[in-house]
Symmetry: C2
Subunit: 537 residues, 2 copies
Amino acid sequence: MRGLMMDVPLNVSALLDFAAKYHADTEIVSKTVEGPLHRYGYADAAARARRLANALVRLGLAPGDVVGTVAWNGYRHVELYYAISGSGMICHTINPRLFAEQIVYIINHAQDRWLFVDLTFVPLLETLADKLPGVKGFVVMTDAAHMPRTTLPNALCYETLVEAERDAFVWPVLDENTASSLCYSSGTTGNPRGVLYSHRSTVLHSYAVSLIDVFGLSAREAVLPVVPMFHVNAWGLPYAAPLTGAKLVMPGPNLDGASLQALIYDEGVTFSAGVPTVWMGVLNHLAQSGKSLGRLERVVIGGSACPPSMIETLRDRYGVKVVHAWGMTEISPLGTANHPKRKQVDLPPAERDALAARQGRPVFGVDMKIVDGAGNELPWDGTAFGALKVRGPWVCGRYFNSDVVPSHQEAGWFETGDVATIDADGNIQIVDRVKDVIKSGGEWISSIELENIAIAHPAVREAAVIARPDAKWGERPRLIVALEKGEAVTAADLRAFYQGKVASWCVPDDVVVVDDLPHTATGKLLKSELRRLYGSA
Amino acid sequence: MRGLMMDVPLNVSALLDFAAKYHADTEIVSKTVEGPLHRYGYADAAARARRLANALVRLGLAPGDVVGTVAWNGYRHVELYYAISGSGMICHTINPRLFAEQIVYIINHAQDRWLFVDLTFVPLLETLADKLPGVKGFVVMTDAAHMPRTTLPNALCYETLVEAERDAFVWPVLDENTASSLCYSSGTTGNPRGVLYSHRSTVLHSYAVSLIDVFGLSAREAVLPVVPMFHVNAWGLPYAAPLTGAKLVMPGPNLDGASLQALIYDEGVTFSAGVPTVWMGVLNHLAQSGKSLGRLERVVIGGSACPPSMIETLRDRYGVKVVHAWGMTEISPLGTANHPKRKQVDLPPAERDALAARQGRPVFGVDMKIVDGAGNELPWDGTAFGALKVRGPWVCGRYFNSDVVPSHQEAGWFETGDVATIDADGNIQIVDRVKDVIKSGGEWISSIELENIAIAHPAVREAAVIARPDAKWGERPRLIVALEKGEAVTAADLRAFYQGKVASWCVPDDVVVVDDLPHTATGKLLKSELRRLYGSA
């Protein structure tokens, strides 16, 4: 029997409509590329989004069309999120930090019809435009006074476009499974893969991340998304802030410590989210300037683990609580966040700190398991580790226009590529990537665990552990080290250093000493290159 | 274009499964009808719900069947919520406080197949059983040791039934629009009307009420639903607590002040929800005993407005914040809750208190408007009042097995029957019921406003205002008063008392003095009787 409640689909447009109606004068404050701060209320933002929706129609765009954005976090980008998705089109956020070839690939693969581009990125797009045959034109996100001379074909000015339109636009009522936005996940191998979010997944994710045990948003918060809107929708904050009536503070292109501190202080920001490197810049500026973080209460940190010293400094010197979270493009992005349970609140500080280092528990809507190489579920004892799989209504079911689905081999589950433990309270701890783990005789050995031990040796400057093929065990760990200047060490010394720290069968069989280890542009170990050089028997 | 996220329907069973997996040892603590406290974890509750699901099948029940409960708030009732809905059956919660004829009506109207009954209510059901031809049997919610001798036909013992079954049961994956539960709304006129909730509406409502600006639940809270599970699903708390991993504390039949204080204190309850009369009993007990409310932080009060003195006492003497909320059976029940916006946090106390007296703003998912008698929308100025209409995915679309839909005359909107103002921040204040308002010359006059003025007159003990028909204006207000002992007053005196307090056209035209005003069993003015006696020209 069917229930008899109203049939109201979950639509992204309803989020901004709600804020416009019930939080009309709550502000969106944006640092602009042009320089000044821009501020207006949700009612203004909604009116401008409706004008923009009229402009999209005038550009010849129709429901189902893909519209790309290459832009910082700012009010015009918020307007684009809602105008594009609200019209039944697909908002494709493009990460300008990708390699040029990747940007060209994803724009063409997504079949973007028009691109909306911040002033900053006009030069970048000018170098790519002739490789983008499907793009009909470019809208530069600025006003007439700042409109640059550009070689971009069909280049229009955002403000000129919007000002020509009427406020009136009625958002279509869309089937909630309609695609709303698109973000490409850049794996370390192969082409980027598109994750096509729906109105339903976006709204459900927005409810979930607003809960206390995730971001904890309310109409008393001022939210600063440092994490970019071109990277998994700024972790959903441009949707969750209107849902809860929170003030939204956008940093624009200014992500240095001084700019962020000023914005946090001046706008009374209470909540922020970003990666650890951003907070390093903020902390350096605070130390140099003697300034404070004003009303800031909480920062959610994801992407990589926050160093304990940063957590302590933020907490003890600035009264800011760090919350670890874990997610990925394919999970909209939120999977887990780390908040204590009731029974953990009064634990001794050392135990609480140890718990806080984990990536946390899932929010309702996300379900998880860890499996061994044969797909058998592993126990939740905080020790056993395996491939982490997730499922739920805001988890990617398959990639956009792609038949390559290694991550979706088990029906109903998405394989994250991460290796994790889960404890009895459902907290995960990421210990490695599946492709980096050494599969030895049916058991998995964490490369990261072995690397961390090697680094603790006084002679070792940097360490990597990779698999080498082994006739008997399948794979065995090989340790590759770069030494501190003037130091020397034997393989036997290093192997002995592992005794008592890991099971004997986990100790690397052999050691390669090199001058330097190869890195990616962002400073991560380039394990693919190490495997190429040292991965054979 | 369709998004490519996983197709995972929102199912009620997932709420308990989630808590069982990620909050396995978080407790449900229940005061039992038999006497002792019962405590177990969510994992235990889920295992018992699966056994019960097997028992339901053994009773011959099938998906779509309606199963009734007549029970207090307790762990067995929680098991029934999940076992019945999770199996694809419909959990019909029956309010034992209704008149006997109403109980018979709704059991037969809902076509309940089996009834699960707490010990308390066995005598009541024994008097009704012969009027319930569709009910195949009764399960008494107790163990074999407490099983009473009863005249109920086909009477089984809950624990005997459950203990005979296996833990293993796989919840079916249900279309999320499948009906999950049923609750009758008892209007003051006509037969009760059934509201048929769906899995989707229940899960969405659970996300929404868990948000900070509604109940604010987390894994650090201990939640005491005083509001009964037989009345709009205890405001959704038996669903929202597992969603957030909150401890659930159930008061059973003991709703007196001493019992509630002991439970709140002993179990470290942080959050509760109920009607004002319950808190009156608690406050009286606190004043007599000198005891405290322990860790209690917040109580949400709905049903009727909380007297300012109660708000002050709870806040100033016991450190407990009162949150006003508004809802109804047809809204699952939550429509609005009252929490300050950021700009209101630092208002002077008197202004904040005035704001806190309102019923609050909608949570995302609920949309509202107020309209005049002709259906025209009225301004949100905090003064204009009109019929309050709401819509959203957890608002009743139509009643169960009923063609009488006066509340659904405008497509897509539910008419609440309440008359309200809405201010510029979206806060509602309920000022009357539509049927009690006096419709005079196209304008609405609030009967409650006129009654409150009359009561302020020193000679008046109690007052009611009703409409009398008027050839020119349609309706005009008539004041009916009972006087204080020994007092006398003229109609002219009372009319003069209104001068300067309301617009002159709102002053009652005539006054009837009576010895006593008629009341309902629960002490409310019986306006239908007043209209019968004094409502003619």
